[in-house]
Amino acid sequence: MSLRSDLGRVKGLGSAKEGVHHWRLQRITAIALVPLSLWFVVSLLCVFNGTHAEVVEWVAAPYVTVLLVALTVLLFWHLQLGLQVVIEDYVHTAFKQIALQIALRVAAGFGALVAIVSILKISLALG
């Protein structure tokens, strides 16, 4: 048994200010994705067999455009947070770690941009 106080033990072991930042964001994006992703899957089941015109008309409905962009941002944000931890856990070379973390952010950001531009292109063309 240690006679040191809890405070004494943890002092100097790191900042207590932003330690939960990543954890908290991962949970917030996860909670938001529960209704959004379920809505998306159900909607997809309704439009997937439709013609191009029907699909485009669905995307261009204002509330669908907004929800799709929100889904895109949260989805790519959440997957970046998750894959970041996977890389942190399994890659032990400093150079590879940094390179992969940068590549992940570039890929996630680029993916989100492709999705958002596609959604807005459809929506604004019919708007």
Binding site: V34, L45, H52, L75, F76, V86, V114, S118
Partner: protein
């Protein structure tokens, strides 16, 4: 710190429902992340015009692609329901072993049933994807 439990040695540690479901959560997360490429392909095709969209749809008609999509659907429902299980744990609920096992089996059942429902619907609708 000295009497803290140490990490199990995975190569010799007997797999349990809880540990297997934990690594499956991570694997489905990676698989789903890769699956966003399919989503981007579909969205970009829809944004490119009717012809490109038709071409994309013919890719989705391929059996092998369908099989991947079925796997992706299961991965989605697994990651979703197990994610909710994790959120309950984060709130401090259901952490005892019997509840952790019960919720684990529930997640497996829900993910399989919802996957079957989705693909049953896909193949049942008139002019469907079959």
């Amino acid at each position: 710190m000295s009497n803290r439990p140490i990490s199990p040695h995975l190569q010799i540690y007997r797999p349990q429902l809880t540990s297997v479901m934990s690594i499956t959560h991570r694997m489905t997360g990676i698989f789903l992340s890769l699956g966003t490429l399919v989503l981007l392909f579909w969205l970009a095709a829809a944004a490119s015009g009717a012809e490109q969209y038709q071409a994309a749809q013919s890719v989705f008609d391929m059996v092998i692609v369908k099989l991947v999509l079925v796997g992706w659907t299961w991965a989605f429902f697994y990651h979703l329901s197990n994610g909710i299980r994790h959120l309950c744990w984060d709130a401090g609920r259901g952490l005892d072993i019997p509840t952790a096992y019960a919720s684990g089996y529930a997640v497996l059942a829900v993910s399989v049933v919802l996957t079957l429902l989705v693909w049953g619907y896909v193949f049942a609708v008139p002019g469907g994807a079959a």
